[in-house]
Amino acid sequence: MPRSTTALATPRLSANLPPETQREMLRRMLTIRRFEERASADYLAGKIYGVVHSYIGEEAVAVGVCSALGEGDRIISTHRGHGHCIAKGADLNRMMAELYGRRTGYCKGKGGSMHIADFGIGMLGANGIVAGGIAIVTGAGLAAQMERKGAVAVSFFGDGAANAGPFHECLNIAATWKLPMLYICENNMYAANTAAAATHALPDVAARAAGYGIPGAVVDGNDIFAVYQAAARAVERARAGDGPSLIECKTYRWRAHTERRGQPDRRDLAELEAWRGKDPIARLDQQLRAAGGLDDAGREAIEREVMAALDAAIAFAEASPFPLPDEATEDVFAA
């Protein structure tokens, strides 16, 4: 890795990225990491309800892809949605308030972790249904094509979702209509407890792209530059009217499928340890330092900034009121 089944691969561009951009990537990944650490802790502490799916370990995918997008571009997420929200620029206060079930949250406390959305920034929502978002965001791709403003739409989905019908229906439609789409498969090797190796005919989801005549690339999902490059090329292609691309990011989640007491992680611990060694954040940190773009002080400054924003979000959530019971009957229909 990174290996590629198509034209998508290119010489490493990291050099071309200004250090401040690279530091911003680091800050975003770190924000996701710390947000998820806090979400898990607060979930186990009973301050967050229902179910939480942690994105820790996969930060380079969301941040790498979203770094290649503009404000007018739209994305959709999965049940594992916090990382995509943060990468697209969502407000931590309203995110945390939603997890806390407060009326100041993105969904007024109606959605929770699996349903955070911010249409204002082009984040079309997390989704509790595996593959449920692929068609919705493909509709956003159709909208972008009809709007003729050069916007693109991005579908994030897992290896598990790649075996579901909507993947096929939508890739064919997007390829046939040349929709400005990026299909980003986050292959973290598992669908809950089920290994991708046991449910996929081939190891690479990207190999399916050829069947639709579109580019399919496999990239190291823990190498933010590899992800960024592949995404940037695909965005270019989409904006040029040449249609969709499929990018498979090989990565791994560090925590169990969901945050739940007494739910054993059935994966091989050695495998987990090996992947923890490929921490995408440490990797960018080292690359930046090696290139002279970061030192201890700089890293600490970023850490402080991130923790300050997170503490503010927690404080905002804690201080926010719960909805009133009667608000449950509001928002069923739009006016």
């Binding site: 109606k110 929502g125 919705i136 493909t138 509709g139 909208a143 009809m146 064919n172 069923v332």
Partner: protein, 325 residues
């Protein structure tokens, strides 16, 4: 007044709205020639046979400011899209705290009578009624269909237009002037005093025929056509039952947890209506079986004017001492 068929009325409503609003586009596995001719292949798209994807794409496009129409064609084909309908379209506005509007019109042809067997003769609208977050209607005339489709297209929510296959070629008066019929208003298709028949779509016409047959016997039948299923005009129905004291529900669908069950429940659970009810409500529905192919079998399964007449006679004889019907 000029006459249009039920189907022509639907197309006219859609064409008028598409002329008015460029954000409207139409997705279907078969592009309807009249719409395609006028609006072209970008706004009237012939798609792959992927109703699930079309439904999801409509949600996404609606969330981006468009006003899509998805023609599922037979309601049968909407079942492949059920996840997008139930888990996404019905819930997305609520789940996301009302931050975005999702204006979508879904079209689905329902009903039997064409000897196309179980898969292609379905009337499952109560399955959709049970899902909170969807509006829907099933009109009985070209006039009502045109007016309700126009309202639905202007609504900022997903709305399902169920359209009766049996009525497609039936003509009726449709004004030339622009008009819209609000959702949630039942229409009294015939006034009467002895018994209330709540009927849908094709069975409105069967009920009218039944009323004609019974009139000479001095039986006065009131026929209430809810037209809109969600929102449902319970008050007009209850009012009529309070007046007549008797209730028959005629529906082409099966009875079990059906539209007919909901009407029986909302009439009887209302104290004032219950107090005036002189006889048990009667459901005149399809037999609870898949719809068979052979005409002999199919016509036996579906309700009709004769069964409505029989039900009316029944409820007229059932009677309750305390209620002067």
């Amino acid at each position: 007044m000029r006459e249009l068929t039920y189907n022509e009325a639907a197309i006219e409503a859609i064409a008028e709205e598409m002329r008015r609003d460029p954000r409207i586009f139409y997705l279907s596995t078969d592009a309807l020639p009249p719409l395609l001719r006028e609006f072209g292949p970008e706004r009237v798209r012939a798609t792959p046979i992927t109703e699930a994807a079309l439904t999801g794409m409509a949600i996404g496009a609606a969330g981006c400011g468009f006003r899509p129409i998805v023609d599922w064609r037979q309601v049968t084909f909407s079942f492949v899209a059920m996840d997008q309908i139930v888990n996404q379209a019905a819930k997305i506005h609520y789940m996301f705290g009302g931050q975005q509007r999702f204006p979508i019109l879904f079209r689905a042809s329902v009903g039997g009578g064409g000897q196309v067997a179980a898969q292609h003769s379905q009337s499952p609208y109560s399955m959709f009624m049970n899902v909170a977050g969807l509006k829907m209607f099933l009109p009985s005339t070209p006039h009502d269909l045109k007016g309700m489709i126009k309202t639905a297209i202007r609504d900022n929510n997903p709305v399902i237009s169920f359209e009766s296959g049996r009525l497609n070629t039936r003509k009726g008066p449709v004004p030339e002037a622009d008009y819209a019929i609000p959702l949630g208003e039942a229409d009294i298709k015939r006034e009467g005093s002895d018994v209330t028949v709540v009927a849908l779509a094709w069975l409105v016409h069967e009920a009218l025929a039944a009323a004609e047959t019974l009139a000479p016997e001095g039986v006065s039948v009131e026929i209430v056509d809810p037209r809109s299923l969600v929102p449902l005009d319970a008050e007009t129905i209850r009012c009529s039952v309070r007046k007549t004291g008797r209730l028959v529900i005629a529906d082409e669908a099966g009875p079990t947890a059906g539209f007919s069950a909901e009407i029986a429940a909302l009439a009887t659970e209302d104290a004032a209506t219950f107090a005036q009810l002189a006889a048990p409500p009667r459901r005149v529905c399809a037999l609870p079986v898949p719809i068979p192919y052979s005409p002999v079998l199919e016509s036996h399964v579906f309700p009709n004017r004769d069964r409505i007449i029989a039900a009316i006679r029944e409820v007229l004889h059932g009677s309750r001492p305390d209620v002067a019907a």
